[in-house]
Symmetry: C2
Subunit: 351 residues, 2 copies
Amino acid sequence: MSPRAPREAPGAPTIVDVARAAGVSKGLVSLAVNNRPGVAEATRLRVLEVADQLGWRPNLQARTLSTQTTYALGLVLRRDLRIVAADPFYPAFMAGIETVLTEQGRVLVLSVVGDEAAEERAYRTLAADRRVDGVFLNDLRHDDRRVPLLVELRIPAVLLGRPDGDAPFPCVVLDDAAGVTAAVHHLVDLGHREIAHVGGDPALLHARHRRRAFEEAVAERGLVPTAVVDTDFSMTQGAAATAALLAGRTRPTAIVYANDPMAISGLGVLQEAGVDVPGEVSVVGFDGTETARHTHPPLTTIRSDPQEWGAAAARTLLTLTASGSAPDVELAPAELVVARSTGPAPPARST
Amino acid sequence: MSPRAPREAPGAPTIVDVARAAGVSKGLVSLAVNNRPGVAEATRLRVLEVADQLGWRPNLQARTLSTQTTYALGLVLRRDLRIVAADPFYPAFMAGIETVLTEQGRVLVLSVVGDEAAEERAYRTLAADRRVDGVFLNDLRHDDRRVPLLVELRIPAVLLGRPDGDAPFPCVVLDDAAGVTAAVHHLVDLGHREIAHVGGDPALLHARHRRRAFEEAVAERGLVPTAVVDTDFSMTQGAAATAALLAGRTRPTAIVYANDPMAISGLGVLQEAGVDVPGEVSVVGFDGTETARHTHPPLTTIRSDPQEWGAAAARTLLTLTASGSAPDVELAPAELVVARSTGPAPPARST
DNA sequence: CTGAAAGCGCTTACAG
DNA sequence: CTGAAAGCGCTTACAG
């Protein structure tokens, strides 16, 4: 294939074809289609019309090479597959991102990694290859090492949640605490005094927030938690934690889980053990997943809107890459949705 | 910013820097790092060493512009969000893709769309912008219009499953039928005579395959299906179908669902109606999800390996883009995993 | 308001 | 075996 021969039979039109057909230079075509000042209106219209007739679209790769922008955003998922697979958060979150990227001709580059080393490599590769104009920083962690990493790599980012340290990036926040607080009040109002929490992975900030909100709400009502158990957010550990609570000294009459999958596996453990839900133990999930609506009984849970979160984060990240800064965004807080897995506390029994 | 000034303070090294430092032309550097013939071994080694010292990586965008290859693969998801979110197939499938892309320095471009028009636009945009070197064709449909579309767009593809028409693309096949057949035999062996199927979306080939396998296996054992109901694969329709079966003239003693989420919502409906599982009705899912292991009772289901499917598809697509052709791949078939949601048929009762 | 030219950082025939 | 040059298809100061 000679370098002079067009690669495609008819040859997709290039900016040169448009310039020739419009009788102007290719530089002018570029100015015209990019709405830059310094082009007579009549000329602009003519160029646009010719471009349209020829069916010309600027070649993205060439534009990328010139402008150093890729029109792509990156998302790196680091999670145990068992956990990602059962967790409906990400599909909805990504769909939300897509709603805004699509209409902007942007694209999402996805990376799924297993451990922290692979995660760091993923960010470094995205940066070195200039694959993306910015990234979403999800599953924020305590003292998150990715923040200095992204600063070092000079890659713009939007944080999903409020970081616990300083970070030179805008954040999009969805308050978990309000829902947990409401759940605890709901349970206390139903007469529960022995309430336990099956928390998530304490390395993750949102797991910490949920746990702290639980502890504070319980204290606020003059109680102490019956137990608080950390997990990795997996159904397996949710089930194990539930079994441990059942076997413990004081059996809780209500359990607040840090996500729906664990609440569902907990429900399974309770029912397998012959414990009536909500007759003997009330169960509260977190997420407001589709599955939670279809269990027996349907789960009381705390609902957030991951799709809106994705959309807001994408808008913020695009603003950041375009202008160099973007304001923080506060989304509607997660809220309690009461279903039939919670009910009045059983009459107190002597141990 | 003058066009002569380097964009980054120290300036990431370019091929020119390497050529200068190694005392050769940049063309030779390119030949050396790409392992092309016509470079003296000693020269090649020297170039490589210098490149390494300078920390040079070829600029991906520039390479893309020259070679017209993007080192990226595309996946377009068109599904109702309610369904995607509850379905753990895609996270695992994408993780499988990533395992092979990552080690090849490739990247996955993801698009999530709602309807068929948006889907077509997504493929057209990927092609027009030359975002990807090839795409995964998932959720194969009857007489799939995407096949001629991709031919028209001249974009290589790998089919996930065997198409029902001709297609000039390799396919990676995972046989659904064997597992469904085994499930029916399992139920018949347990004494069931009234077996129903809650199928998936009949527009999708895999839903059709599962349904046909069900019907054939039932016939093979001299029975007729009690009922076969189509759905859209959502938990909601799975629940509705189950309620309809309960209310029907002949109540089935066993139900085979086309996916786990519907089996789970079906289980919820049965239990809410006071129907004992498996005492009165046996339930079989399809997918082998994590959730199915944690329900009460745990689900008998049909397990496949979506992660391996993703990895095999990625390997096939890379082979195709590299060499212009790739052989079809046949994966291990889905297999029955028996748990406690299936049991002996209840004694026959008079209606 | 417009044109001509250089530049983005690679790859690839073509000469020597 | 190596060098010099053209090409990929855009964008962007710089002159006029």
